[in-house]
């Protein structure tokens, strides 16, 4: 700290560690909950019966709970723990408002509880990592604003002139997460816990993966990099390796990450230029990402001997190494030809768990072990247990990842294998699933080891907490307030200047620029800094968003594509409720192995009425985009009632309640009207949705009976779902005529 800049009077202050303790406990508890759900899901793949036959615990409903719990509950609370602890110290200021801190804490826990209740009940927007319904989405936005006000309020009353690199990363996270959350979650509320995305098809997919990928970037990467920049040098007691590298990798990361989202949509109906941009910016992201790894690992130069005895450093070193692996693998998987093999397989699952369990999980654990003695003001209960956690957890991750790599590559290769007669070698999809079952068991073992480590940590921290003093000490610190006077520019002496190198004066200036003197100025101007971050993120986003929404040729019109009938819409809502997209894609890629297996590849114009899109990201079961008309209704009835009656080796869970639960026609008019508000040309259905729905249901019900199936199904959910599934992907096979009873305009790219 340069004393000359501070001319204010001395002030005394304390830090709010009580809030840090709260967030730390929430991290541990939600970590265990989220990972337990993960373990249950891992068991359900080889043993579908593990859902106990309940609707609430099926894979499709629990998987969103798992992802939301580990990302937003576990990692979220970990971020807040790290930010609330480090921010106060880096700024020499107590949090802006203790009340806001508490509102933030309890608000966030309320959101998590709301998620844990609504997701198993099937309330879902049907977009990955953004499943929570609109009232919860609004709560998230509010609590995030509370966090932001508390954060920037603290920045405003700081007693440290310049912002340390950790804070740059926090700022980027807070601003960008707000933007991503708000724009991706734009939806029309239909009922208290039901809404439709305002975007459709290609555009919805684009927005979703702009959000999804940057949730990885600005929720799981930048805040954790910020935490690394604080806790790593603290734990190692070494200076950060390179200030200049911090600057360069920070800005390149913030600017480039935003572009990379479309790499989740290679070979889909997304326009090719967007897909290419996603790939290229991902490739260029490799070094900006590795800048963080380099700065982390090289900070340990001269301190490597400490790693051997210090379990905290072990966690940090492993976390940063996993970060390096993931951020190499990410760019590699974004290369189209690699992606054509890896997409929809367990390879992606391996990749994300390397990042989540390795980088986020181990960094969090290291941070908590470092914080425990400081927060509870006593010694850590057991170093041995922490060591055991480290080794068990790390081996667990490796087992998990190796199993999923093998599984992913195996299935990817089986899907694309052709025999010498030009036929698919494994035309039966379930054959490629059965081959994976042994790896699912290995993954379960790896996951259990990691989960066990989390439980050890919980025990260790609880025992440490028990040994806390009767009353926590609250040390009082002293620092001069920042003066409101303009700050004279810091004098920066470049090496050439220092050595009086015989060059022209302009060389000195150039060197100073390269030494980032200009950046030093920004670091004491938080508003300017935040504005530049927002500009970087928004400009980069608009480069992709504007053409995606405005260029009509991106989504060529297909005139035979018409809106879903009211009954089909209800069926689609059931599809979303049950989380079918968690295991089934609706996107046939233009590859011979896909079109031979599923049928014609998917066209952008087929999805113009899909609010939200349901393209999916993993094929645990086969693609469903061309399933319409492939099987008779009765096949679907029997398959839903018990998948093993039609596919003896299937690992899909049964859905018998669909055959007994009523469709609930009372909702259909509201839903059709909401869709019409979004511009779906519903014609007559705007007034007669219920009538049309019943009519179509009776028709399908009698067809099922005629095929030898049970009668009386017409008003059951299964019929609505069948109506939707039989419609899927069939529009392009029709002549572009208007179907009777449904006066509709032609589809347009909107």
């Amino acid at each position: 700290m340069s004393a000359s800049a501070n001319t204010g009077r001395m002030e005394q202050f304390t830090y709010d560690d009580a809030i840090v303790r709260k967030f730390a406990w929430a991290t541990v508890i939600w970590g265990i909950v989220g990972m337990l759900v993960g373990v249950i899901l891992a068991l359900q793949l080889p043993k579908p019966e593990a859902n106990l036959g309940l609707p609430y615990t099926t894979f499709g409903r629990l998987r969103p709970l798992h992802t939301n719990a580990v990302i937003f509950a576990f990692a979220g609370n970990a971020i807040f723990t790290g930010v609330y602890y480090s921010l106060q110290r880096l700024l020499k200021a107590r949090m802006f408002s203790d009340l806001l801190s508490k509102l933030h804490f309890w608000g966030w826990q309320f959101i998590i509880v709301a998620a844990a209740i609504t997701l198993p009940l099937g309330y879902s927007q049907g977009k990955e990592y953004a499943e929570l319904e609109w009232p919860i989405d609004i709560s998230i936005a509010l609590v995030w604003v509370i966090f932001g006000v508390n954060f920037f309020g603290t920045v405003a009353k700081r007693r440290e002139r310049h912002l340390f690199v950790a804070i740059w990363f926090y700022i980027a996270s807070i601003i960008t997460v707000a933007i991503l959350h708000i724009f991706n979650s734009m939806a029309i509320p239909v009922e208290f816990l039901k809404s439709y995305s305002v975007y459709a098809g290609v555009q919805d997919a684009f927005m979703q993966w702009w959000y999804g990928h940057n949730a990885v970037a600005f929720f799981l990467t930048t805040p954790f990099l910020g935490m690394m920049y604080y806790f790593m040098p603290k734990a190692a007691d070494r200076p950060v390796f390179s200030y200049r590298l911090s600057i360069l990798h920070f800005w390149t990361l913030v600017f480039m990450y935003i572009w990379a989202g479309p790499h989740h949509l290679h070979y889909t109906a997304l326009p090719e230029w967007a897909s290419t941009l996603g790939m290229l910016f991902s490739v260029m992201l490799w070094m900006p990402s590795w800048g963080g790894m380099v700065n982390g690992l090289l900070t340990l130069r001269g301190a490597w001997h400490k790693v051997a005895d210090d379990v905290v450093l072990k966690f940090f070193v492993a976390a940063v190494t996993f970060y390096g692996m993931s951020t190499f693998e990410g760019p590699m998987m974004s290369i189209k030809s690699v992606n054509s093999l890896s997409h929809y397989t367990d390879w992606t699952i391996a990749h994300v768990h390397g990042g989540a369990l390795g980088w986020n999980g181990l960094l969090t654990a290291g941070m908590l072990y470092w914080l425990a003695p400081r927060l509870f003001q006593t010694r850590l209960y057991s170093k041995k247990l922490a060591e055991l956690h480290f080794w068990g957890g790390t081996v667990g991750i490796l087992l998990y990842m190796v199993a999923m790599y093998v599984s992913g590559v195996t299935q990817g290769l089986m899907w694309r294998a052709f025999d010498e007669t030009g036929r698919l070698t494994h035309p039966d999809f379930v054959e490629t699933v059965l081959r994976l079952v042994p790896f699912y068991w290995v993954r379960l073992v790896g996951g259990l080891m990691y989960f066990g480590g989390m439980c050890l940590m919980a025990y260790n921290l609880a025992m440490t907490w028990r040994a806390r003093p009767a009353k926590y000490e609250e040390p009082v610190y002293e620092a001069p307030a920042l003066s409101s006077q303009p700050v004279p520019a810091e004098k920066i002496v470049s090496p050439m200047e220092e050595e009086k190198a015989p060059v022209a004066g302009v060389a000195y200036s150039l060197e100073k620029f390269l030494l980032a003197a200009w950046h030093r100025r920004w670091e004491r101007l938080p508003v300017v800094f935040s504005v530049w971050v927002a500009v970087a993120v928004i400009v980069a986003s608009l480069f992709e968003i504007i053409p995606t929404f405005l260029i009509r040729s991106n989504v060529p019109t297909i005139s035979s594509v018409t809106p879903y009938s009211p009954l089909e819409l209800l069926g689609r809502d059931i599809y979303i409720r049950e989380g079918c997209y968690n295991c089934h894609s609706q996107m046939v890629r233009p590859m011979r192995a896909e079109t031979e297996r599923y049928g014609e590849y998917s066209k952008p114009g087929e999805f113009v009425y899909d609010h939200p899109f349901q393209w999916g990201s993993r094929r645990i079961g086969p693609d469903l985009h061309r399933v319409g008309g492939k099987y008779p209704h009765l096949w679907h009835v029997r398959h839903m009632e018990n998948p093993r009656s039609t596919t003896p080796q299937s690992i899909m869970p049964p859905y018998p309640w669909l055959l007994t639960d009523d469709t609930g026609y009372s909702k259909v008019q509201g839903r059709v009207n909401a869709m019409a508000m979004l511009g779906v040309p519903y014609g007559e259905s705007i007034n007669r949705a219920g009538e049309f729905a019943r009519q179509q249901a009776r028709q399908i019900g009698s067809e099922i009976a005629a095929q030898g199936g049970p009668g009386g199904l017409a008003d059951k959910e299964i019929v609505a779902l069948i109506a939707y599934m039989q419609r899927l992907g069939t529009d392009i096979k029709k002549a572009p005529a208007e179907p009777p009873g449904q006066p509709v305009k032609t589809a347009e790219a909107r």
């Binding site: 603290k234 390179s242 360069l248 490739v283 233009p590 590859m591 031979e596 003896p648 095929q707």
Partner: protein, 196 residues
């Protein structure tokens, strides 16, 4: 410039006692970063500006043309589902065994473990709905399916010789009178392979 770079030069500032070095960027880091940028520029030019890189749809069409050519060549040499060829398979216990192995995962769900019929018709009686009691007819139903009734077209998943084996196995079930047999459906016709 390099001469003037300072190794491990500590900057004056510190934040909560964390200090920072002003070390230069690692050379390899800078070089790889530039390399990825240059690669990206050329990739974009190749695929999106000069028109030299093939769009995905075009690559797909080329791939399919190749596949269809191969299929046409193979079709000329493959097993022909003619009555005589199928009858030869029916007479060959090895073919029946092969068909029997294919049966459980594909046919059993609808036709029962022994062909007694469930959702699908009984395969063991002398009544025929679609096949007119001929081997070629059975082959055709397995190959093309009866989509309206829920019979899946297995031709997309099985090779002609496999469908032939299944045909032989199904024909061999005739007259086995399994338990729980479904009532006969369709027209009663003496099977073609028992004539003569």
């Amino acid at each position: 410039m390099k001469k003037f770079e300072r190794e491990d030069h500590l900057l004056e500032h510190s934040y909560d006692e964390i200090q920072e070095y002003d070390n230069p960027l690692p050379r390899w880091w800078v070089y790889i970063f530039w390399a990825t940028i240059v690669f990206s520029v050329f990739y974009w030019i190749h695929y999106h500006m000069t028109g030299q890189g093939a769009p995905v749809a075009q690559s797909y069409d080329e791939e399919m043309a190749e596949l269809n050519k191969l299929k046409a060549e193979i079709a000329a040499k493959e097993f022909k589902p003619e009555e005589a060829n199928l009858a030869a398979m029916l007479a060959n216990p090895a073919s029946i065994e092969e068909g029997k192995a294919l049966y459980p995962s594909r046919c059993m769900p609808c036709h029962g473990a022994s062909g007694e019929g469930l959702v699908g018709p009984n395969l063991t009686d002398d009544h025929w709905i679609h096949t007119k009691g001929t081997l070629a007819g059975i082959y055709n139903v397995i190959d093309k399916g009866v989509p309206a009734k829920g019979m899946i077209p297995w031709g997309t998943q099985l090779k002609p010789a496999q469908i032939g084996a299944l045909t032989a196995y199904v024909a061999s079930l005739r007259g086995t009178s399994p338990a729980n047999a479904k009532a006969p459906e369709g027209e009663q016709i003496a099977p073609s392979w028992l004539k003569k």
